[in-house]
């Protein structure tokens, strides 16, 4: 049964066969063979290509497995760090001085905003934005790392509810809650705490702080910097599976963050506030330290500044204002203020002379109001024009006689003086737990040749003898040196850290005294007694001691030494004389109670005038406040 189509087909073929006089049988066989050959070639080509492909697939899937597997994981797995809450900072009595507060920001998710100009226009309708704020918003738009844009920082719920009335204009805005560092007494504790700020490249490279994944803020200065690694805790993370569009599909793994440990400082906040109140309109520094263990009870550098400004992102304007402030609030005077110690150095010069056997308690120098040095035209004047008459060491300290110390330092010589002053901690770091401590300056022959290309002149030794000239010391160095007198040479590294509390276990970890890097002077007890007693006379021998007019504190006796540094300020030399700049620095070193010292207080008031009139009363009040409140401190502590 043949269909019509087949019949047609056969007929057609026959026609063609006739047309080409083509031997069908032979040609059909040949065509079949030719096709078979081509099919065989095709088969070989197909198999060849098949194996080429399989080799390539093997390369990708089997040889490349590790490589591509890693890539596949990094494609889908995103690790989102969970920053740890920062540890709090307390004073020695458990009063909080640095904490974390929740703040509300007005934010908007970048992805929701398509037209920036339109957004800004609408935003200005409901929120008053000045040109700076607008610029800041545009800046945030450009910052690719930011996902959210902060329109207003730190708003109250009231403010938010006012804004949300008009929310229909800008439905994209929302309230962002974040944690912010807050300092309870920003000015008074500024130079102790320092501040935190955004992690910078230099922080990441720094060896003293450890940065973690996801860490946003880091201690920049002060305790916040020094104990960053304790306060920071440990960031956790969330291992998330995301799709190609960044949407989170599920959480694969989470590691909780560990809150930073709390830190208790040696500072007594009340004492700190008490002193800061007295100092805030002055420039200078007050340090109160327990000489028996190096605990710093108060650490004031005035003026302070608002460290809370830094925890919000401080504006360039505010920052410049702080930097350009003539009172230089950003300088930590307690460790970076380098002052001539003036007469407060005299006890140490006396001790060196006694120790070296150059003088003894019976050595008298007659003071006629001035000292004549051989080959020196100008006589060296004593502060008391009419002179002190014959003075021994004790009297010379009590009366702060300059001529006595001119003579003694001439006898001792600069080499022995400079060499021995290092033993009291001058000219080197005290290793207080703050970074960037200044070392002051102990000048000697080598120093002068190197830095001024001049030989040492004998007259300069005399100036060093009364704590003037090139000699410079920081308040913390003076405090430590004074402590060495108060405790008869037994000194401790000054520190602000009292203990930390583990955020997990609640265990306290107390301050561990490191090896004292401060070389205790090997002072003879008899020599020490002389100076000790002389310093008692300074504050107690009525009419004789330079600070004997101080009001008594009950039955507690203070020992001390006044100092008045003559300051030749650069401004004055240029003729831009201003009364204040020409005024001397007032200094006072002290410890109390005399018999069994518990507190060393150093006071420096820049351009404060006389040490006895300006500095000594502050030290006295500090000691009084400390002594009066000590008992409650102890009971609180238990």
């Amino acid at each position: 049964m043949k269909t019509k189509a087949r019949k047609d087909s056969i007929r057609k073929r026959r026609k063609i066969e006739e047309k080409y006089s083509w031997d069908r049988m032979n040609d059909a066989e040949e065509e079949r063979k030719s096709h078979s050959n081509r099919a065989i070639i095709a088969t070989l080509v197909v198999i060849g290509i098949f194996f080429t492909y399989m080799v390539k697939l093997y390369e990708v899937q089997v040889s490349g497995y590790e490589y591509y597997s890693t890539k596949s994981d990094s494609n889908r797995i995103k690790i989102r760090p969970v920053p740890a809450a920062r540890g709090k900072i307390f004073d020695r009595n458990g009063k909080v001085i640095a904490k974390n507060i929740s703040t509300f920001d007005l934010i908007v998710k970048k992805e929701l905003i398509k037209n920036k100009e339109e957004f800004l226009e609408k935003a200005s309708l409901i929120i008053k934005l000045d040109s700076n704020q607008k610029k800041n918003i545009i800046k945030q738009f450009k910052n690719r790392r930011l996902k959210d844009i902060t329109i207003l920082e730190d708003i109250t719920m009231d403010e938010y509810s006012k804004i949300s009335v008009d929310k229909h204009i800008l439905p994209e805005i929302e309230l962002g809650i974040k944690s912010r560092r807050a300092y309870t007494h920003p000015y008074a504790t500024a130079h102790i705490l320092g501040y935190i700020g955004k992690v910078s490249d230099s922080d990441i490279e720094s060896e003293v702080v450890k940065t973690q994944e996801g860490m946003v803020e880091i201690g920049k200065l002060g305790i916040e910097r020094f104990y960053q690694n304790i306060l920071a805790g440990e960031s956790g993370f969330e291992k998330l599976e995301t799709d190609a569009f960044g949407e989170v599909i599920r959480t694969i793994e989470t590691k909780e963050s560990r809150r930073g440990d709390d830190i208790y400082l040696t500072i007594d906040l009340n004492l700190q506030k008490f002193i800061y109140k007295k100092m805030k309109n002055k420039e200078g520094s007050v340090i109160a330290m327990n000489p028996n263990n190096g605990e710093i009870l108060a650490f004031v550098s005035a003026p302070g500044y608002d460290i809370n400004l830094f925890t919000k992102s401080i504006s360039q304007k505010d920052y410049n204002k702080l930097l350009q402030d003539k009172r230089k609030p950003m300088i930590n005077r307690a460790i970076n203020g380098q002052y001539p110690p003036a007469s407060t150095l005299k006890p140490f010069i006396g001790l060196i002379a006694l120790d070296e056997g150059i003088i003894n308690s019976k050595k008298f120098v007659s003071c006629s109001g001035a000292y004549k040095l051989a080959n020196h035209k100008r006589p060296f004047k004593c502060w008391k024009k009419e002179g002190h008459g014959p003075a021994d060491l004790s009297y010379a300290i009590t009366q702060s006689c300059d001529v006595f110390f001119y003579r003694v330092s001439e006898l001792v010589g600069i080499d022995i003086i400079s060499e021995n002053l290092y033993k009291y901690g001058f000219g080197k770091k005290t290793y207080i737990d703050l970074y960037n401590e200044s070392v002051g300056l102990i000048p000697d022959r080598a120093w002068k040749r190197k830095n001024l290309q001049q030989p040492w002149y004998p007259g300069e030794t005399l100036n060093i003898g009364i704590g003037q000239g090139y000699f410079l010391s920081t308040p913390i160095q003076l405090t430590l040196a004074t402590a060495s007198i108060a405790t008869a040479g037994q000194t401790y590294t000054p520190h602000l850290f009292l203990r930390s509390q583990d955020s997990k276990t609640g265990d306290f970890i107390n301050y561990e005294a490191e090896d004292n890097k401060f070389i205790t002077p090997n002072v003879d007890h008899d020599s020490l007694d002389i100076v000790h007693h002389a310093m008692w006379r300074v504050t107690n021998e009525r009419g004789v001691g330079t600070a004997s007019r101080l009001k008594k504190i009950g039955n507690i006796e203070i020992a001390g030494k006044t100092g008045t540094a003559q300051v030749y300020s650069q401004d004055a030399e240029k003729g831009q004389s201003s009364k204040k700049i020409l005024q001397d620095h007032a200094l006072f070193i002290s410890y109390a109670p005399f018999e069994n010292p518990e507190i060393v207080v150093t006071v420096i008031v820049e351009h404060g005038g006389g040490g006895s009139s300006t500095a000594a009363p502050i030290a006295r009040d500090t000691i009084e406040y400390y002594m009066e409140n000590k008992k409650t401190v102890v009971s609180n502590n238990e």
């Binding site: 087909s9 095709a42 088969t43 198999i47 990708v60 497995y65 596949s72």
Partner: protein, 371 residues
């Protein structure tokens, strides 16, 4: 008619011969479609509606295949010119009334939307086979030129759409048909070289996105989020599958959207990610088997039409596999070419089954020569 004893229905060959179905080919195809359905289900994240849609198409395809397998090759031959010219007209209509996103490839007939270019994938080999069926082989130069025109006319129209990928595939299937018809290899190589010389002309007439694809092919890492992104992600997916694969439903690259078009053009990637190299070996071997089985059918065919048709079609299917897989492993530029029997899509699925209907028709209707 003395040389023909009867139509090639063997005794006792059961249902498959009754339906004119080649069981071996059919089983291979069914396994591949099952792979395809599974991969679509998995990489779409368990979207059963896609699977049902695709299954419907497979069913329509099988019905079409069985239907075409019943048609005697001589009748296929008879209809060849009509089908070819009809589809050419459709292509012309597409140029004027076509719809589509980036290129107007679709013809919207209100009740059905399809790509006439897909039909050409079958009808060009069919037409070439028809044309050579009553000519002495190897063909004379005159006939060769006619056949080249038969191939190039639809190719140029499809390039115009523009759909370079399909155009090239059809062009190549036409070339295979001409090659199988028996033109001298010398001539074939010569024209291939000529084709390469024409490449710059082609380049000048290419659309920007097409140029970009070709450029990306040569340097995929240059633009990881752009066109090269597809290829990179595709390789990552395949590579991360490893030897045993990530397992069903665990293909993160495809499921999470890193591999684009994971149900259509890049379904091989999704399959390779979940089933690993082992699965890939199996799948590729099935394709190889289909191609070789098709060739063997063509060798056994009793006339030139059957030989050229079944040979060309089976080689063309394999070519599609090579183009698609070559694309996902970076052998070839990213062109929109579906993976036969796997990729999600209606026209291509039905066309492919129709193709095999023809091959089976050739096989089951072969006339056995009397010795």
């Amino acid at each position: 008619m003395s040389e023909y004893i009867r139509d090639g229905v063997k005794p006792f060959s059961g249902l498959s011969s009754l339906l004119h179905i080649d069981t071996k080919l059919f089983i291979a195809i069914i396994i591949i479609t099952i792979f395809g359905l599974t991969t679509i289900y998995s990489s779409s994240g368990g979207d059963l509606s896609l699977v049902i849609k695709q299954f419907t198409r497979v069913t329509i395809g099988i019905v079409t295949m069985i239907f075409i397998a019943q048609v005697h090759p001589d009748n296929l031959k008879l209809f060849s010119p009509i089908l070819y010219v009809f589809t050419l007209v459709l292509l012309i209509l597409v140029l004027f009334f076509g719809v589509g996103n980036t290129a107007d490839r679709w013809l919207d007939l209100y009740f059905i939307k399809f790509q006439p270019s897909e039909l050409m994938k079958i009808f060009v080999p069919l037409m070439v086979a028809y044309y050579y069926s009553n000519k002495p082989l190897p063909p004379k130069t005159k006939y060769l030129f006619v056949s080249i025109i038969i191939v190039l006319t639809p190719v140029l129209m499809i390039i115009k759409q523009p759909d370079l990928g399909t155009a090239l595939l059809i062009g190549m299937s036409g070339a295979i048909a001409i090659l199988l018809a028996g033109i001298s290899l010398k001539f074939f190589i010569g024209s291939t070289v000529g084709g390469f010389l024409l490449a710059p002309v082609l380049w000048m007439n290419m659309h920007d996105y097409q140029k970009e694809r070709v450029l990306t092919f040569f340097n995929p890492e240059s633009d990881p989020m752009g066109s090269g992104y597809h290829l990179m992600q595709s390789k990552i997916a395949l590579g991360s599958g490893g030897f045993f694969g990530k397992g069903l439903f665990n293909g993160t690259q495809s499921k999470l959207g890193f591999v684009p078009e994971h149900s259509t053009d890049f379904i091989f990637t999704a399959f390779g990610e979940e089933f690993g190299f082992l699965g890939v070996i199996l799948l590729m071997t099935l394709y190889l088997f289909i191609a070789l089985r098709g060739l063997s059918i063509s060798v056994k065919a009793t006339d030139n039409f059957g030989r050229i048709l079944s040979g060309t079609l089976s080689l063309t299917i394999f070519l599609y596999v090579l183009v698609n897989v070559g694309m996902v492993i970076g052998f070839l530029p990213v062109v929109g070419a579906p993976l036969p029997f796997m990729s999600y899509g209606g026209t291509s699925m039905v066309t492919l089954f129709a193709t095999f209907g023809m091959i089976m028709s050739v096989k089951s209707h072969q006339r056995i020569l009397r010795k």
